[in-house]
């Protein structure tokens, strides 16, 4: 198993005729993702890498039942496109678009929740369940090199860091069950704690690694969840951006959401909260496999790493 997507997941690509969508679609198909249709208004009848294009989600799902959609539409079109996907009945929506207006984001996040649809992003580079399926640009042209299959779940507020975490795990002999970039924005479709609960329920995930940043309450919620006993699996956390505390509050050094607005949104405060809750807080990527190894042995779930450490 895995979370969110596997080899059976049928996917529609919204905005499939755009440059990034074409590129990602090609590599997703090569990886094994079941892309059943694409949507771009006015492009009905075209084909993209062998995938038929429709004008609307409604007409696409009528011909090709689907479980998920991935959005590559311009920021201005995200709200109508996401609402169209919800109405068409997909259960998972992955929004790769960035700079989506916040009023639109809160609307589609609320609409997805009301419909029981899982929304990943906005501003995500995707999800990968190694060896099974990937949605979005994650892994680029060689996902297999970065993401060996295994039993560690990864949830990150930075898309780039999912690759570094996976490489660090790989160095320690571990692989990944599912890696999800939840999006670096202020408001995201799902919270980090919600992903953690999905990993907790997944029989093929033994432990979880999270990557956090200053800003938002994602990491605090994870600490509360772990402290309350909501997660039995070991959780390792890398929280970056502590350097910001040396500079004036409200100054942004990266992701729009990664600005400290209150004291408990700082990286150091998050590290302390997580540590106190029983999360294994790493200071460097290299520490993660060792930490997980000890925790997994203590938990009695796995005594040997998933895969031999390859050299890249």
């Amino acid at each position: 198993m895995s979370i969110l997507i596997d080899q059976a997941t049928r996917v529609i690509v919204q905005g499939i005729t755009g440059g990034q969508a074409r590129f990602d679609t090609e590599w997703c198909i090569k990886y094994g993702t079941r892309i059943v249709a694409g949507v771009t208004p006015g492009k009905h009848g075209e084909m993209v890498h062998g995938v038929p294009v429709y004008d609307t989600m409604q007409s696409a799902v009528a011909q090709h039942p689907a479980d998920a959609s991935v959005l590559y539409v311009p920021a201005a079109q995200v709200k109508p496109a996401a609402l169209e996907a919800i109405a068409a009945g997909v259960r998972l929506i992955v929004v790769t678009s960035e700079y989506v207006p916040l009023h639109d984001v809160v609307h589609i996040v609320a609409a997805a929740r009301a419909a029981g649809v899982r929304l990943v992003g906005c501003n995500t580079n995707g999800i990968i369940s190694p060896g099974k399926s990937k949605l979005g640009g994650v892994g680029g042209m060689d996902p297999a090199e970065i993401y060996p299959p295994g039993r560690i779940g990864v949830c990150s507020r930075s898309g780039g860091m999912t690759a570094e975490i996976s490489l660090a795990l790989r160095e320690g002999g571990y692989g990944v069950s599912t890696s999800v970039a939840m999006g670096g924005d202020l408001v995201t479709g799902m919270s980090m704690a919600e992903y953690l609960m999905l990993f907790e329920a997944d029989p093929d995930t033994d432990a979880v690694v999270i990557f956090g940043e200053p800003g938002t309450r994602n990491e605090q919620e994870v600490a509360e969840l772990v402290r309350a006993g909501g997660v039995s699996k070991p959780v390792a956390a890398l929280i970056s951006g502590a350097f910001q505390e040396a500079y004036p509050a409200g100054m942004s050094f990266g992701h729009a959401a990664a600005a400290i607005n209150t004291q408990d949104e700082s990286a150091s405060a998050k590290r302390r909260l997580l540590q106190a809750a029983g999360v294994h807080v790493a200071h460097a990527l290299e520490d993660i496999p060792g930490m997980l190894g000890q925790a997994l042995v203590a938990a009695g779930s796995v005594v040997r790493p998933d895969t031999p450490a390859p050299v890249i």
Binding site: G160, A163, E164, Q244
Partner: protein
Amino acid sequence: MLPLTEDLAKDWLREHGLPVPRGAAAASPAEAARIAGDMPDGAVVKALIPIGRRGKAGAVHLAANPDECRAAAAGLLGTSVNGHAVRRVYVEERIAIRDEHYLSLSLRGPQPEILITRGGGIDIEEVMRNRPERLVRAAIDPLRGLPAGNATKLLQRAGFDAALCPRLAELTVALYDAFCAADALLLEINPLAVTGSGSLMLVGAMMGVDEHALFRHAAWADVAAAVTPSRNPREHSVAVANREFPGGECQYVELAGDIGLLVGGGGAGLYQHDIMLELGGRPANHCVTPPTGTDNRKLKAVLAAILDNPQLKGLLVGFNFAQMARTDIRVCTLMELLEEKRIDTARLPVVIRLFGAGEQASRAMVAGYPNIHYVSRGTTLKEAVRLIVELTARASTKAVA
């Protein structure tokens, strides 16, 4: 958030049928006097700059007649208030106020929030600190919006007179609609006044809007284009490049250290900065560079700022394993600028950690340059940071010797 000047905020509210005092912007004392000629009860003259608490900054004056208005405008125009040059003033009719209240709408998380206090008015921060029980705060469901019934309940909780509640509820609903229609992240009404004649008036209005929604609000694009000048010329040039060139956002913040950081916009940049401090290195800057497309002008602007920093003694080009971006565009831009600025790499240690698409070409470009260390595959982010910290320290020691 893009703060709007008072004229734009009030025009928006007026267009949405909300009661705001009559007023207009003026660029000269004569124009200000002309506007005040139509205001028999006197005028308020305010520096038209996008900051709050202008009264405390001495940027608000009362004028009983057009002559006083002309003098007040002459005193404000051309000055600088909190670093903002005053190029225009806002001239507004004086309102006789009986009661002052406070209402704000904000969007900072998954749901918009409304905050109301009865009385108090101007000094909301004092109320928040000392009398928090007077604040009524509620989240608004973005799908349902703010129905009049909910607004009435909030106003009752805030202790407003039953007689005032229906009119005030109607106003609150209209404000919420105007807030959403503007893609506002903050709308602060302070004071929300009951006038001497008993009508409601939005006397103070501050509005900040979402930069990413400007495609729906072309009229405000000029405000976004006015880059607040930074005292640091390198920061300024990157801010200008961010406005002028297409692609994702770029940022450059200069710091007190000596190791330049060329990093991406996300987690790996934060991570490397933390690690550098832990290892005793001193970053000369932090930056955000957009993913590389075919247009590298933003990347070039950030790199130029880093290389122009006179404190620079070492450079780290550190990115997470590239899944989508091409490495060779970054390296090519670096080599172009080193050439253009005639920088001798023998004197400037450079560490490059760039893995992914185009890597072979990238490595070929730096081959033969002294002191450019393109680390081998498998080198961790931390190892690359450690290398530039050590090389920079060694170069400095040598320079001193």
